[in-house]
Amino acid sequence: MIPFSRLIDALVFMPSRNGKLRLLGQYFATTQDPDRGWALAALTGNLDLPTAKPAMIRELARTRVDADLLGWSYDYVGDFAETIALIWPPKPTNRAPPTLGEVVADITGAKRSETPAIVEAWLDACSADQRFALLKLITGGMRIGVSARMAKTALAEWAGKDVNEIEEVWHGLEPPYAELFEWLEGTGERPDPDHHAAFRPLMLANPLEAADIAALNAADYRAEWKWDGIRVQLVGKARELGTFERRIYSRSGDEVTRVFPEIVGLMNFDAVLDGEMLVLRDGEVMPFNELQQRLNRKIVTAKMLSQYPAFVRLYDILADNGEDLRRLSFDERRARLEAWYARMHPDRMDLSPMVPFTDWAELTAMREASRENGIEGLMLKRGDSTYVPGRPKGPWFKWKRGALTLDCVMMYAQRGHGKRSSFYSDYTFGCWRPAEQGGLELVPVGKAYSGFTDEELLRIDRWVRAHTTNRFGPVREVEQELVMELAFDSVHPSTRHKSGVAMRFPRVHRIRWDKPANEADHLETLEKLIVS
């Protein structure tokens, strides 16, 4: 528990991603099995100890601490595990803090009625920091700013492997991952993922700049629409007696199987497919925020299934009946995909159509003309490209539709994080609308914290400090004078924003030091850009 609690403590306060990776790598390098494996399970959300729940811990605390004092303390601290960790009055003991291996073994081996006494003895043996780590570990839900992906990335960096190699074997593994560590340390075989419906790390595209196009030979590339949903991978694996193991992964390799039961139910195939999850109504792709409704919910209700019906538009096929197709060219895989589709004809799925073109001018015109719903732009893929995980330079490009822009006025500024914490670098912008009392007022329409250079940031920061009219904690309200041109991908209706609209991916495009605030855009203009 000692190394693990040191790790947790250091992670909680480490602001930078690189620093976190370094701490995790250090931990994996210096900690024994099985402890590091259980820690990895906890960090990736794969540790489940059903008998140690917060309610049991609370009962335990009540036996040592006055209920009112416990209540006030929880109100002040706000985090359950931390409150108990800090408030626990330990009884003297000569026991050492348990190792992670002991914690898992003892809890899984105990009857429900025996668990409280076991945990009580551990709490006595631990320091406050160790109690915090212990409670986070056994009650689940670490929430310490480390994603599963980050834990795997740290593992990869420590072992000198590509994170995709780890993703590839990951779904066949069980905690405490002895095989995995053996492989990473070079003392064991690579675990075989094909026993399971494993995730294949995705191939991603680089953004295409207009200036690059001239250098590309149009005949080498195939074009298809870039759909505005979430990229998913459907994996079906044949089991005995005609059953299938079925999983849906997001592009980061997180499982989203349970979010889309209507799709899972149709996956009676042994194949790995790459596609875009969309909400489709009467054959039409709905705006992204409708899909968002599905992603935000933990429980899928019948109402959501009918209101936001999911659909997969297929881009690629990576495996077919156990045959790995990733070494084939894009053209060959496309032919296999079309053949597969013709054979299977699954409901709620179709093929993303190819967009034929002869030269770049033609394609450029098509891209500009496409303000259609659900299309973010174009994808360009070399016909001879094999399926390479990661973001290789050259074979695939995404060519997004030109961004929309609008002149907005800065209303609030907030300090940034990490290296930017001494700068006002996060801004809230507004557009004009008629005020109730007559005249015009600014209404916030979006936030942006990127798109400017360090020198510009310095200058904006100085401006913010000199033009502050009000402060609320870390936020400064500023004089309504500074205009910036914001770029964004699209606009959607939103009930969460006072203005009734939300921009997708807003960023600062240009700082208009020259422009008077009263010449900035009106909300009306923004509303007209809503895609419906």
């Binding site: 306060f13 006055d66 009112d68 004092l69 006030w72 303390s73 601290v77 408030i87 290296k419 914490s421």
Partner: protein, 338 residues
């Protein structure tokens, strides 16, 4: 001496100016200017300028003079444990262990003894005299850390955190946010006692009080102004500044600083994280929960009055110990001064 018939609250009263010892005609730590003030210690919320007449320890008076110049009024220095009579009230000062010069004000009248402890702590501090337990009838206490989640760990472990981090990040400046009076000098003294003999760099706002402590015999070693050092010189060095400066433009002169804050509040992770602290140091000049209870028990007072902080929990706990306890609801004392 006659037996006390009067209830203590009839002669030590809460007024808009602060706690008033009526028969003695003086206030203790008044929050507004008064005729006669007894000041427990030099923190700005306890020691304010503008009183006509101030009585305090020589250390506290020196601090007030450094901060306010001549604005502190006529002064009367009183050493620890040297009783005097003020209009028939017996008054003396006992060490409070909070900051240099800090004292508990002990007042006795008609056989009843009230101890106004000001701010205090119970653990060792190389920069001031340790707290003395004065048995009394009424103990007036702060409750800054009046919740059972506050246990300040040993200082040595916190200082070790800084030294460990220096070896882990030798290219980064280590910026420690500290209050100018007390915490600053204590952290420096603790670093020195742990064997750290490099120059320590300080923000200009800390210089005057550090110089005063040194004058009064507290060893702080080689202190330099951070503003006079180049960015390169500050790599791998310890820099102290008031807490507010760490997130401000001032800190840009530092090479890739790690921000630390030395405060009892750092015990609660969320609180430390909200302030953007990377290296929280739980070092406090106030009693933690155990010290509060230990003190309430030690002074054996039948009545506990709580001045400021998280009163409700402490009053509740004192009640469980069989004490009569109540909140004075004094305004004007800051929670965050630490």
């Amino acid at each position: 001496m006659p037996i006390a018939h009067q209830k203590p609250e009839s002669w030590v009263r809460v007024t808009p100016q602060g706690l008033y010892v009526e028969p003695g005609q003086f206030f203790i730590d008044p929050t507004r200017p008064v005729e006669r003030a007894v000041v427990t210690h030099g923190h700005a919320d306890h020691a304010r300028p503008g009183n006509k007449h101030v009585l305090a320890t020589p250390g506290t008076l020196a601090i007030m003079r450094t901060r306010y110049g001549d604005g502190i009024g006529a002064t009367q220095a009183l050493d620890y444990n040297a009783p005097i009579q003020v209009n028939g009230v017996r008054l003396w000062l006992a060490p409070a262990g909070h900051v240099l010069g800090s004292a508990q004000a002990v007042v006795e009248w008609q056989g009843c003894r009230v101890v106004v402890s000001g701010d205090y702590k119970r653990r060792f501090d190389p920069t001031c005299a340790p707290f003395e337990v004065v048995p009394c009838d009424v103990f007036v206490t702060e409750a800054t850390f009046g919740l059972p989640v506050f246990h300040h760990p040993p200082d040595s472990g916190e200082i070790d955190k800084v030294l460990r981090s220096l070896t882990l990040f030798p290219e980064r400046a280590h910026l420690i946010g500290v209050y100018a009076l007390g915490k600053c000098q204590r952290v420096i003294a603790l670093l020195r006692r742990s064997g750290y003999d490099q120059p320590i760099y300080i923000h200009g706002a800390l210089a005057a009080l550090c110089a005063l402590y040194q004058q009064l015999g507290v060893e702080l070693g080689d202190l330099r102004l951070a503003s006079e050092a180049s960015k390169d010189e500050l790599r791998g060095q310890i820099v102290l500044s008031p807490p507010a400066a760490s997130a401000d433009r001032w800190s840009r002169r530092l090479p890739d600083p790690i921000t630390a804050v030395a405060s009892g509040w750092m015990r609660v992770r969320q609180r430390a994280r909200q302030r953007g602290v990377e290296l929280p140091l739980v070092i406090s000049d106030h009693a933690d929960w155990d010290e509060l209870l230990q003190t309430i028990d030690g002074v054996a007072a039948s009545e506990i009055w709580v001045t400021h902080g998280r009163e409700e929990a402490l009053i509740h706990a004192a009640g469980l110990m069989g004490k009569r306890a109540r909140a004075l609801a004094l305004v004007g004392y800051e929670d965050d001064e630490d």
